[in-house]
Amino acid sequence: MVDVLFVSASLTFSSSAPAAPAILISMLEHAGYSGSFYDFNSYTKGDDNFKQYAISGYRPDNIIKFNQDFKYHVQKIKDLNPKFVGISVFTYQCQSTARLLCIYLRLLAPEIKIIVGGQGLSSVGVQGEHLGKEWEELNLCDFYVVSEGEYPIIDIVSGNHQNKTTWNQIQDLNEFPIPNYESYDLNLYTQSIPITGSRGCVRRCTFCDIHVHWQKFVFRSGKSIANEMIVQSQKHGIYHFAFTDSLINGSMKAYKEMCNVLADYNRTADQPVTWEGQFIFRPKNQMPEDVWRLSSAAGLNHVSIGIENLSESVRDHMKKKFSNEDIIYGTQCMQKHNITGTFLMIVGYVTDNEETLQENLDMYTRLSDFAPNTIRKVAIGTTLAILPGTPLEIQAEELGVTLGKTENDWSGPSTLETRLKWRSDIIKHATSLGFFVPENEEQQVLIDKLQKEDA
């Protein structure tokens, strides 16, 4: 018998181990309960029927096999004899399968109480409408959790939880035990362990809903993060860590403290630790070169950076707070200290126009010496999405923006058609300069082919 069995709903293509179940299992054990994890997503994500159902929400072609497979997994879940099943809905693409999993559990294992949680229960960004209440009314679940689950999971198993659509942000992340991955089959994932050092963000970017959801930037001490990495690496024999944070250098004090501990450890360790995460570029006076050197010695080997746009005026409007010279400086430091990067971009911001498009193209040319060895990837994504609750949505009228049916389909200073053309121009230009742009169709075809050959 296990108190809570966490089950990941399909479909997430990530090859990393999910962080949330391990965190919640450790919380349960700390409070005297038991928890375990069944990675339904990993077991089913390669199956065409599951992919089809998760992505479309429509009956898969081979519905009979799909039904048999679902029943097989539900039986496996039953065999683990849980009192509660906690369904982790990681993204909106997990909603259809999560809903169906609730139905199978209700029909085949009515004695099990169902909890649903995860950001995927909100559509269109983290501030979108939450499905928990609707699912409770439809008897799909007994309990739902909005946002952070550390305290609600204890309240649920101890009978003190009231379903509600509001939540209070945790203010002290240092008080939690080290996440427990013992029930994971770590062979299912890329050899890295997720880790969380902070929640929220220090910036207030106009297009982003993170600072609206997590109103305060809270972070752990650098020592506590480093200690977790050392303990987990020794316990599991996995030495690479992937931060789940919106940014790993939000608090420079905690960041440097973590780097100092890890650099000391790596100097003498048989197996040094390495790590990667999302990052912000800072001006030279905030992130001098010795901090880059220290980061590399501490094991930092890859950063994903929300550059968003290579026009300074556009980035200023976004409130990104770094210049083109800061980008060049940061990239030079990355190159010098063997740290690779992914640039995360947004095309078609509300102040983008033909002039800023040219500024973008020129800056790609300027950065081309760093492609593809230092700037490993440029993720262009779709075009600007205006998400619920963001400053852009709130100021839409003032900015001359008319919101559309979907987050990308807004009009005003530019049309979707124009934005898609800019996107195409940038992809072509960046690709011609030697940047790896996954959105480039020709490259994607090649990647798909190579992946098929590997398989």
């Binding site: 139905i103 199978y104 029909l107 439809l138």
Partner: protein, 124 residues
Amino acid sequence: MPNATVKLYAGECNGTAGFKIGNKIFQPNELQEGDHTLDFEYEYGNEIVFTMFGKGNKDTKMKDGEVVKDKYIEIKQITMDFLILKNWQFHTYLWDPYFGKNETKVFKIPTRDNFPIWYMEVTS
């Protein structure tokens, strides 16, 4: 036993029709013209019988070949465990939700074993 909720519209012409859902009976003129929400209990594998009765020959008014007033019942929505069946889903997967004459239609609720496949069919 799970509960279901039916939202229906009762159309009036010389009063309203009688309507029966399972064992629950509403006599002619008991429902006012307009929207109503009614409950019924069901079990998996049950057949829930919907019957309209009490409509006479003069309970439809025509003008220039068009119906201008009618005694009828139209199912707008059924909310049951796990899903809401809307008017269009009745048209597409079940039966015409418009009861325009004294007639009976049967809502076959699948067994526990068949329910997931049925669910996928009616929500696709």
